[in-house]
């Protein structure tokens, strides 16, 4: 079909012209007519569309057609006459909603997803006062066996968005429809719990789920317990991407940078010290860049792959066990922070590491899993004790009556609160690479270079490639976000088709700003664009924009670690990977 041919259609008596191949939904949108949808999901900036036509909420009447047409996946035809709210269409739609509700728990008030549930919104829009076709409801066991994700399939409406997110976007490929008829539901093979599968806990399924079937594990009570335990010193670290999204939980414009307000809020919650994961991000750059330049110099074991993202780490452990030697051995910033807090900082403040509780606020659900990995526990003490997602912090603040939007700006505590612009940009896809290049360039030239912006690696595109000149060295770099893109690139590397020096990989499309623990975007990807812009604005506004210029990092090496890549640095800041293969 040629896209240049235009189709003339009439919707609710109004003419509209759309391109050949456009759907009824798209044509209606052009006229400002809203057709309700539920299973349909579109993520514009990733060119991702989930259009299975399975829920049937979007049915409309098309003249001359035997049955109702799902607007989301029916292409328009020339001279098509469509009625989006004829009695027949409304009856069909209402009955479909009624049927969905008849097999859905009515425990909205106590549902994790309450207020963010698309089914709840639809029900509110339609105002069905009774469910006409009540009957038996499906019953499935809960999956509570992992650190990150809760699966409550009693709430599953079979929209299959999670499946598309897992299989098509991320190519993790663990979810599919299982069982038949009324019992059909989405689950891993043999209905295994997630922790027995290749699941990487990226949380993109949770982000995609319109209802409360997939939600995050909530650990707020553990944090409250720690805060109220007089024996414990409780510190908190905040990841780069949290500060540009948390305001959304308080009605602030997407893209508002709320760093200072967030610090104040955390202090008011009662944390003994409020630190920044950005500090550890700077530390990561010191270690990773040292490793990178070492490998380049030796001309071996290239490309080096970033290892900040725990979803990505678990992905390659399962899917590319033959390549576990190429990622950087540097721990993620979260875990570097934990390791330094429990040693350097604990010693500094004279607290037994057992009595120091490290809490993380992360845009991510895989971070919950990462903190629980056995290699991140030393002498029975976890480096990071509790991980909360951005959404959980929003809940905690609401519960405590702390109105983030109204707070004054606060400052991070020292010594683990100081950071540079290089660390802030970790929150966007391309940021880690750009931060590393800034440091590498200075180190190789021995200068303090003024041009620090490597814009070629910025943006929400899934795969970005650039050859960057760093001090006369032609660095072939790639930046990938979204595991599907990562898989395609890794396969090219495995086959020898592609050659790079360095590759940044983040599991979530767009990077951490679109992490599985961030406030829900409900398909509005302009929110992601706003978050990304905020991250780069924050970087620009900072006086120091290179990790190696962070004074507290310099001090940390002087006082404690010695040189980047030192023996102690290796012990505390580096890790190893497990060739897991297929679960």
């Amino acid at each position: 079909m040629s896209a240049d041919k235009m189709m003339n259609v009439t919707i609710n008596g109004m003419p509209v012209q759309v391109e050949d191949g456009a759907t009824i939904l798209q044509a209606a949108k052009k006229l400002g007519i809203k057709i309700p949808t539920l299973c349909y999901m579109e993520l514009d900036c990733f060119n991702f569309e989930h259009r299975k036509g399975s829920c049937r909420i979007c049915v409309v009447e098309v003249e001359g057609r035997r049955n109702l047409a799902p607007a989301c996946c029916t292409p328009v035809m020339d001279k098509m006459v469509i009625h989006t709210h004829s009695p027949r269409a409304v009856n069909g739609r209402r009955t479909v909603l009624d049927l969905i509700l008849s097999d859905h728990p009515k425990d909205c008030l106590t549902c994790n997803k309450s207020g963010n549930c698309e089914l709840q919104t639809l029900a509110a829009d339609f105002k069905l006062t009774t469910v006409k076709y009540e009957g038996e409801q499906s019953v499935y066991p809960l999956d509570l066996a992992n650190e990150s994700i809760v699966r409550d399939l009693n709430k599953c409406i079979m929209c299959r968005r999670c499946e598309s997110a897992c299989n098509e976007m991320q190519t993790v490929g663990i979810l599919s429809g299982v069982r038949r008829g009324f019992e059909a539901v989405v689950a891993p093979t043999l209905e295994k719990p997630l922790n027995e599968t290749n699941c990487v806990f990226c949380g993109q399924c949770v982000a995609a789920c319109p209802v409360g079937a997939l939600t995050a594990v909530i650990r707020n009570q553990d944090v409250l317990d720690a805060l109220n335990n007089p024996k414990k010193t409780v510190v908190v670290q905040t990841a780069p991407a949290v500060r540009v999204a948390i305001g959304e939980g308080f009605g602030m414009e997407p893209g508002t940078v709320s760093t200072g307000k967030m610090v104040t809020a955390l202090r008011r919650l009662g944390f003994d010290a409020v630190f920044d994961t950005d500090f550890a991000a700077d530390l990561t750059i010191m270690e990773e860049t040292t490793e990178f330049l070492g490998r380049v110099k030796a001309g071996e074991n290239l490309p080096i792959l970033t290892s900040c993202c725990p979803g990505w780490v678990k992905f390659f452990e399962h899917q590319f066990p033959d390549l576990v030697h190429i990622p950087s051995t540097a721990k993620s910033p979260q875990q570097m922070f934990g390791a330094i807090a429990k040693t350097y900082y604990a010693e500094k403040i004279g607290v037994d590491p057992k009595d120091l509780v490290v809490v993380s606020i992360m845009p991510c659900l895989a971070k919950k899993y990462e903190a629980a990995r056995p290699e991140f526990t030393r002498d029975g003490v976890r480096d990071v004790d509790i991980v909360l997602s951005t959404r959980e912090l929003v809940i905690m603040l609401h519960e405590a009556g702390i109105q983030l939007d109204l707070l004054e700006e606060g400052q991070y505590d020292n010594p683990l609160g100081e950071s540079t612009g290089a660390a802030v940009i970790f929150g966007a896809s391309g940021g880690v690479l750009e931060a590393a290049l800034r440091t590498a360039a200075d180190w190789l030239t021995g200068q303090d270079l003024q041009s620090v912006d490597f814009t070629a690696v910025r943006g929400l595109e899934g795969t970005k490639e650039a050859t960057v000149e760093v001090a006369g060295l032609q660095v072939k770099a790639a930046v990938v976000s979204g595991l599907g893109n990562a898989r395609r690139l890794l396969e090219r590397i495995r086959s020898g088709e592609a050659e790079y020096h360095v590759i940044e990989i983040m599991a979530c499309p767009g990077g951490c700003l679109n992490g599985g623990g961030q406030p829900y975007i409900h398909g509005d990807t302009t929110i992601l664009e706003a978050r990304m812009k905020a991250i780069y604005d924050a970087d620009k506004g900072l006086p120091k924009r290179k990790s190696h210029q962070n004074p507290d990092i310099i001090k940390l090496y002087e006082e404690f670690l010695g040189e980047p890549g030192s023996h102690l640095a290796h012990e505390l800041l580096h890790t190893h990977y497990v060739a897991r293969g297929d679960a």
Partner: protein, 611 residues
């Protein structure tokens, strides 16, 4: 190697006229084997040996003759006299009598008159009701012998198509024949082929849908077991017509004999060059592979079938894109049913005009039905389109068993509906059945009598759909469950007039909103019985009574004065709710009775009344 049309002609000539040999055809389809044909075959073979006739009378293992009511069946062909006789219910002990019949002396054998003719080779001189085109070789040739097929004009159509016709000619011929999809939808086959033919693509697929799944339907199995080469030949013709070199037969794994015979046929065809490269020297290449279905009814839906072949979950996807544009492995694909293919070679040989001379204007040709249920003569029948239901049920089927009263006939399986006596004279074709609220479906035809409860029948079919729905779209997944629950309420006496309104509205809405053909037709058994048999629904709802005495919750058993006090019922009652003195009238305690009907069945004096 049969690598030119001439060789095929020479080979056929060499084989001679199949009618010019003394033969005993033994029905060795799954049904025949299950009924005990194998010992009959052994016994006949032994008798031929003993009498020294092994060389003069050929014993031919054939597929199903369609005479399920009289299996094991055999057919005698006497080449000298031209006599052809069918015997039913043959036992191994009758082998001698069968051989005696060659000399014209028929004694102690159950003779069955042939109720069909072969339109391709003869006129209907006896005015029989059946016309066999799709079943033309079933029960006549040995399906495991390629020479039998070739002797019956086999592969002549393929030779003609690839050497004398252009692909467009073939599509045109099928289009002109008006052949419509025999799997249920009734979509014009030639039109489907033309869609795929006009797609430009290096690779295309021809799929044969052999995932026959309607309860009580076995037409496709009979064709595959009885005449596998006819399907292979037609698929190759289709491949030539649309420009495809790849054929896939998607067959349910529960058809082991059909699979075995297809494997043999494919092997033979490849060996002789009838499949493979450069067929009949035309340069056209075509190959066929088998894929096994795991028994999901929904995989009969073409997009679900395609996904199943691809190794994905067998569930339908929204059309467009249609398989003709984007099908298997995203290549242009046609999916046709077994019976559809079984008609193709005959059309190519005899021409579209011949085909359209049979059947009705909008539904030319014939249709195979699996006639089952309460008729006296169950079996496989093939009749010209437009034959009235009455002719099938009361003519071919010879009426209702035990001469009970006919109540309804269900066509179209779980997607179809029930038709009652006042519509029995409707000439059946695709369109008339839809007008009656039913549909052709793949050809299941289940006859019901006065003992069948129509609410329960609707519930039975819905239960089937409920199990077989893939669960993808809301109306089918949840809606059918709700319909089923409401029907269950009615059969338990818990229905209200409001239940009927809800059934109607929900049924209509499911038809209107479901994603695939399965969901869109799943309420048909409910909606059609609601229209055709409102009084039965009312009896369940208003009078709390099941007129057919099927719905156990609505039945009361009482003991009448005919009771002689034999105590048999009391001794057999599983819950001990019958009491009474010996030789005195007994009584049923209604509060304990579970309405199992054991007393009713055991009483020798008809003293138990069922209301």
């Amino acid at each position: 190697m049969i690598d030119t049309p001439e060789r095929l002609t020479q080979y056929a000539a060499l084989l001679g006229d199949p009618a010019a040999k003394n033969k005993i055809l033994v029905s060795m389809g799954t049904c025949g084997i299950a009924a005990g044909t194998t010992p009959v075959l052994d016994s006949l073979r032994a008798a031929l040996e003993t009498r020294g006739l092994a060389n003069s009378i050929r014993l031919v293992e054939v597929g199903c003759m369609g005479l399920c009511h009289s299996e094991p069946t055999i057919e005698l062909h006497n080449a000298e006299t031209g006599q052809q006789v069918i015997f039913g219910n043959v036992t191994p002990e009758q082998a001698g009598a069968v051989l005696d019949a060659f000399s014209g002396e028929i004694k102690g054998l159950d003779t069955i008159s042939r109720g069909w003719y072969y339109p391709e080779e003869e006129e209907n001189v006896n005015g029989v009701p059946q016309a066999r085109i799709a079943l033309r070789n079933c029960g006549r040739i040995n399906p495991e012998k390629l020479e039998d097929y070739i002797a019956s004009k086999g592969y002549q159509a393929l030779a003609k198509a690839v050497t004398k016709m252009t692909p467009q000619d073939v599509v045109q011929e099928i289009m002109a024949s008006g052949l419509r999809g025999r799997g249920g939808g009734g979509f014009p086959t030639g039109v489907k082929w033309s869609f795929a033919a006009r797609e430009k693509n290096d690779s295309k697929y021809v799929i044969c849908n052999a995932d026959e799944g309607d309860p009580g339907a076995f037409m496709d199995r009979a064709v595959l077991e009885g005449d596998p080469h006819s399907v292979l030949e037609a698929m190759a013709i289709a491949g030539y017509a649309i420009g495809s070199g790849n054929g896939v037969i998607y067959i349910r794994a529960e058809y082991p004999l059909a699979i075995q015979r297809l494997q043999i046929a494919i092997e033979q065809a490849k060996h002789e060059g009838l499949l493979g490269e450069n067929i009949f020297g035309s340069g056209f290449a075509f190959d066929i592979e088998l894929k096994y279905g795991a028994g999901a009814f929904v995989c009969g839906e073409e997009t679900a079938l395609i996904h199943s072949i691809e190794g994905m979950r067998g569930e339908p996807t929204f059309k467009p894109p249609f398989p003709a544009v984007e099908g298997l492995w995203k290549k242009p694909t046609i999916v046709n049913n077994v019976e559809t293919f079984a008609n193709v070679a005959a059309i190519i040989r005899k021409g579209a005009d011949w085909f359209t001379s049979l059947g009705t204007e909008k539904s030319p040709g014939t249709k195979v039905f699996a006639l089952a249920g309460k008729v006296k003569k169950v079996g496989l029948v093939e009749v010209p389109m437009g034959t009235p239901l009455r002719d099938i049920i009361f003519g071919i089927g010879q009426g209702i068993r035990e001469d009970k009263e006919f109540k309804a006939v269900q066509t179209g399986g779980p997607s179809g509906g029930c038709i009652r006596a006042n519509k029995l004279d409707t000439p059946i074709d695709y369109d008339s059945l839809i007008a009656l609220g039913s549909m052709m479906g793949s050809g299941g035809m289940i006859v019901m009598d006065e003992d069948d409860c129509m609410v329960n029948v609707a519930r039975f079919f819905l239960e089937f759909t409920l199990d077989e729905s893939c669960g993808k779209c809301t109306p089918c997944r949840v809606g059918n469950k709700r319909l089923f629950e409401m029907l269950t309420e009615i059969t338990q006496g818990k229905g209200t007039p409001e239940t009927l309104d809800k059934l109607r509205n929900l049924g209509q809405t499911i038809k209107d909103t479901a994603l695939c053909g399965l969901g869109q037709t799943s309420p048909n058994p409910v909606l059609s019985t609601l229209i055709q048999f409102p009084e039965e629904y009312e009896a369940h709802i208003v009078d709390k009574r099941c007129p057919a005495g099927v719905c156990s919750r609505l039945i009361t058993y009482t003991i009448t004065d005919a009771c002689v006090g034999c105590t048999l019922c009391a001794r057999n009652c599983p819950v001990g709710c019958i009491s009474g003195e010996r030789k005195q009238k007994h009584v049923i305690d209604q509060s304990k009775c579970i309405r199992c009907g054991v007393c009713y069945d055991t009483c020798k004096f008809h003293a138990i009344a069922k209301n």
